[in-house]
């Protein structure tokens, strides 16, 4: 039986990597991937807690897993829309660097 803390630490490490990558990377596709990484770090926490909670209460708890499905659906939708936007942006501006895509400044 692996203690829950292990899962949480792993999740935190994954999430931090995601955040760091998001902040550091300029390529928009890499940024996109780091978002996926953060989402999946959270997903890992959800399933870890589901299992932990089922053990503590003695019967099955599925709330966390249902959340994970939601996250996956949203992530899939986001990937579809996001990639489409990326392609559109690349066609328009011929670059994928987020530092050059700053039309929204004041």
């Amino acid at each position: 039986m692996v203690p829950i803390a292990y899962y949480l630490v792993l999740s935190a490490i994954l999430f931090s990597i995601g955040v760091a990558a998001f902040l550091i990377k300029r390529n928009i596709i890499t940024v996109f991937m780091s978002i996926e990484l953060m989402l999946n770090a959270v997903n890992l926490t959800f399933v870890a807690f589901t299992r932990h909670w089922s053990q503590v209460t003695g019967h099955l708890q599925v709330n966390g897993q249902i959340f994970v499905f939601f996250v996956m659906v949203v992530a899939a939708a986001e990937a579809a829309v996001g990639l489409a936007i990326i392609i559109a942006v690349f066609r328009a501006r011929n670059t994928l660097s987020v530092d050059q895509i700053d039309l929204m400044k004041r």
Binding site: F22, L23, R26, V31, M104
Partner: protein
Amino acid sequence: MTDLHLWLIPLVPFAGFLVNGLLGRKAPKPVVSAVALIGALIPMLQVSALVWNYHALTLPHVETLGAWIAAGAFHADFSFLLDQLTLVMLCVVTGVGFLIHVYSVGYMAEEEGYWRFFAYMNLFLFFMLTLVLAENFLLMFVGWEGVGLASYLLIGFYYTKDSAANAGKKAFIVNRIGDVGFLLAMFLLIAHFGTLSFGQVFAKIAADPTLQGGVLTVIALFLVLGATGKSAQIPLYVWLPDAMEGPTPVSALIHAATMVTAGVYMIARTHVIFDRSPLALSVVAIIGCATAFFAATIGMAQTDIKRVLAYSTVSQLGYMFLGCGVAAYTAGIFHLVTHAFFKALLFLAAGSVIHALSGEQDMRVMGGLRKKIPVTFWTMTAAVFAISGFPPLAGFVSKDEILYQAFVSSNPAGKILWAVGLFTAGLTSFYMFRLWYLTFFRESRLEQAHVHDREDHGAAVHARKDSKITVEAEHHAHPVHESPGVMLIPLMILALLSVIGGWMGWPEGLGGSNWFAHWLNPIFATGASASPAGSKSLELALASISTLIAVLGWFIAHLMYFAKPELPARLAHQVRAIYALVKNKYWVDEIYGALIVTPVLFIARYVLAALIDRGVIDGGSLAVGYSAQGFGALVARIQSGNIRSYAGWLALFAALLLAASYFGWTAHFWVR
């Protein structure tokens, strides 16, 4: 006669004002005149009916239309008062007012803004009648301010002319100074008596014989300040001569016969207060006497026919103040009435002269008009003799009554007041005959003046002309002509009144019955106003002296302006310092300008406008705006459009939040 419908008296002219003011612009002139004349005629008829049914009246009669202001125990109503004094004023205002309306139809016939003129005239009547009829100080104040407004509008009637617009402003502003006094007096009355109703205030004073001087003196002096503003007395008389910028009928109605007498009426109306304050009465007497004298001296050296009459008005108002100041209110009111007759006549006749000369006002270029405009001449002659105090004309009776009352009054300075008043009567006679001779006698100086003007490229003409028909005067299109009948009939009626109007107050000392004084007795008999004992022989002697003085004034004027016309210039040269002093009106305007107007303008311009308004108020609001803008600009730099910087901020604050919750700050931070 229980229901007198007094409210109709002021409201009919107001209706005339509304009709002419709102619809008059498009209406043809006859319609405008008809509306205005009806607006002046109906009140006159109603007042006539009141006089006719005098014996059926129970005076004083108070008519309350409804509550106006009610605050706690204090309340002021829309209520009108009718008593003998009101009735006198009503007769003067509506009678002279109507005559001047008739005259104006002829005088203003060719003016732009005919409808505007008559709308303002009716508005004036509305406010003046409100002032006269009011039963409390507050309603009187409404009329008081309203006549000031009408006066302002009519002085500035030729508003495209700079001097007229400025004269209007001057009149308005100087009157405001007096109004402060009136307001303060009202505040004190509320504080001490809790009411502004004439009846209640006077009843409370009457019920308390210990109430002498003190607060009553203060109230009375504030009322005097108000009266000096409205009635053009020292120190606030300066607006009246400038008010001559208005059309001549306005000068006659507002600035001679009615509005300027409001101060005298106010003092007479509140005589119960003054009776308890010998100090305030003395102030009134001294102000009146000094004003009468100074204005008369200024009047001697003026060359504009209307300005002479303006200073004469100030001087005669001084006599009325003198009368009130020696507690001879009847004499003051009597002089008010006779003055309304002959001064209105003088102005209207002067207007007729100006009309005849197509706008010329300078007496130096008049002359020889006696044969050319005979009706104007003869009516003017009646007025000149009346104001100069020749028996048995109106001015003699009333002025002599005032001088007599001053002589026998209990005031320790009574004899001095009498002497100054007497000397002023001589001056009055002199400057009136000076005007008479310069205008009507010898040969006309008009032609040579116009030749001279043309050499000056007409600049002098412009400087001197009433804006009336300036163009015509320049081209000299009209020869000297007598005015139309619509102007002459009012002149003749007023001339008749100037001759016989004084007979109703013919003093008992001279074999009359002084019916006027007996009639006003119910108002003034209370308190100190009961006339002190004099003897018939004394009254006869004083009357003889003042008649002699008037004749002397006439004689000197005859000598200087008829027999030896080169004499005035030589005399003026010999006493040129005094002449310059008088000619320049003692430089009072300049002194006021330097002492009051300039500092006030300085403060207004540089302290209030530049420092307070632009600095503090504008600066403050701008500072708020700019600081918000600056802070916004600072914060806006966060919105860089760069996703990574957003993410950085997000991560940073998320981390801070996490740290905060981890170290247990949250609970403290938010709950507290």
